[in-house]
């Protein structure tokens, strides 16, 4: 996924000299090719994220298309007010890349873990929120964000999970992408980001009656499609490496409760910070997001009336 990011970024910059990459002194090796091939479009703004986002607004105002890169803990969360006032309020075309979302920095602790970024950004008007699961989704998210000519936050989480698509995709913005269709399915899995591959793996191995959708677009989301999924399934499980408050699960539950009340179980991070450090898989386990724990939760949900 990171290679797809680097490649797409470079392709966009080469095709449009108004594309500028701003980084808050992060992304060391990620931008080697970019710095080599588009040095004039590369700006290291220093460890000064608030100023970086304000500057991006000024650059966008004067006709540039800034892509602002940082770790998700900082871009967007640290600079939320700059995104709201300087960028989103004026509908400026700035793309924010929040890298390492969720528990990617599992050893570093809370400062580098980002589990509230979707909730924070979703509530800002004029700001779209994308959350790709694999290289194909990342590529289409980058291209869609660029073409939309508006403010977009792209959340990049754990990048080395299994692909959920076997070939490039070209969805309409907002679409949920079916990655497993079961005949007469009674159970719907809707997942985003790193947990799309988990949802797919579980459906393939343990839940033959489940169909699976990956949701690269959290906002806007295709409401009609969500309602249709709610109508066609008795139970719905959402998956995300993000707080259960305000993320994908909340989005689906909001739509469902208004249009087609359904039984929805939200799998995600409960309302708490990490306690310990360890490998990425350890942290998933600490938060009950390893496959074993997820299966237990789903089984309980499926059997309850």
């Amino acid at each position: 996924m990171r290679e797809a990011f680097s490649d797409t970024l470079l392709a966009l910059a080469k095709a449009d000299p108004n594309v500028l990459l701003l980084t808050g002194d992060h992304g060391y090796a990620l931008f080697d090719a970019f710095r080599r091939e588009c040095p004039k479009q590369y700006i290291n703004a220093g460890i000064a994220e608030q100023n970086m986002v304000g500057m991006a607004a000024g650059l966008a105002r004067s006709g540039f298309k800034p892509i602002v890169y940082g770790l998700a803990a900082f871009i967007p969360v640290r600079v939320l007010e700059q995104i709201k006032l300087d960028v989103a309020h004026d509908q400026l075309p700035v793309i924010f890349i929040g890298d390492g979302a969720g528990f990617v920095y599992s050893h570093l602790g809370t400062s580098h873990q980002s589990t509230e970024d979707i909730a924070c950004t979703r509530a800002i008007p004029n700001l779209s929120v994308y959350s790709p699961a694999d290289a194909h989704e990342l590529t289409t998210c980058m291209k869609s964000a660029y073409q939309s000519n508006s403010a977009v936050y792209i959340r990049m989480g754990k990048s080395d999970r299994n692909s959920v698509h076997s070939s490039p995709i070209a969805p309409t913005i907002g679409d949920l992408l079916v990655i497993k269709q079961s005949r007469n399915s009674t159970l719907a899995f809707i997942a985003t980001g790193s947990l799309s591959s988990t949802a797919l793996a579980l459906a393939n191995t343990q839940y033959p009656n489940a169909s699976v959708w990956s949701a690269p677009f959290i906002k806007p989301i295709n409401t009609k499609q969500v309602i249709e999924i709610c109508k066609q399934h008795q139970k719905i499980v959402t998956f995300e490496e993000h707080s259960v408050l305000g993320g994908l699960g909340s989005t689906i539950a909001e739509i469902s409760s208004e249009h087609n009340p359904s039984q929805i179980f939200r799998i995600g991070i409960e309302d708490r910070f990490s306690t310990h450090c360890g490998s990425y898989n350890y942290l998933l386990k600490e938060h009950g997001l390893d496959e074993g724990a997820i299966v237990q939760k789903i089984d309980r949900f499926v059997t309850q009336k």
Binding site: Q50, G58, S62
Partner: protein, 254 residues
Amino acid sequence: MAYAGSTVHIGCAFSIIEILAVLYRQYLRYPENNPLGQARDYLVLSKGHGVMAQYACMREMGWLPEEAFTQYFSDGSDLKGLSDSRVPGLEVTSGSLGHGFSVGVGLALGAQLRNTDQKTYVIVGDGEINEGPIWEGALFAAHHQLKNFMVIVDENGYQAMGKTNDILDLGSIQAKFESFGFEAITVDGHDEDAFSEAIKQLQISSSSAPKAIIAKTIKGKGVSFMEHDNVWHYTRLSEDAYQKALQEVAGESK
């Protein structure tokens, strides 16, 4: 306007009247008098609570109708109590302090990347420079030699709750900006000739450093009972105070 809208922040607007008058009359270039023209200079009011002073200038530019003033703050009206970028002529949505400076740095960087001679003027309050992003932006502007970027600090000596020196002592603002790599001048912000001369001096300088003018001003300038009295950061105009203030301002301009 302040009376019609029964608004606060009167003193905050009075301290920058002369600064704005000089900028609009002598320096800001708006081709075809278009506040949104692509080749315009940029005036960024980072201390958004001084916006009434800018409205007055925009009225003189012909960008705002008289009703906008008599109907200030009426239901459904466009001119807010803080700078809002959706009003043509206002470049930023400020009010939350420490935002406009960075947006201005971005505008100046954009002009530099495009190799235009567009100037960016950013007005900040002395209280406002408590905010961290100001100094992040100052580092960036100096490092990237944004010579067409000019910050004007409205040093009226007060912030919302009292004197700046009592709250977070700023020391020498000029020395601070100089140490960040700016070329800086301190001047009387109510002396239009001296202020204009300061801008001129900085603009003809051969230095590639960004520029700073520290404008010594008086909060509430022009109305004796408002001057140096921080209560006019918050107080609304009674009819009596309004008439007295009008007399004083009219007397001054004769």
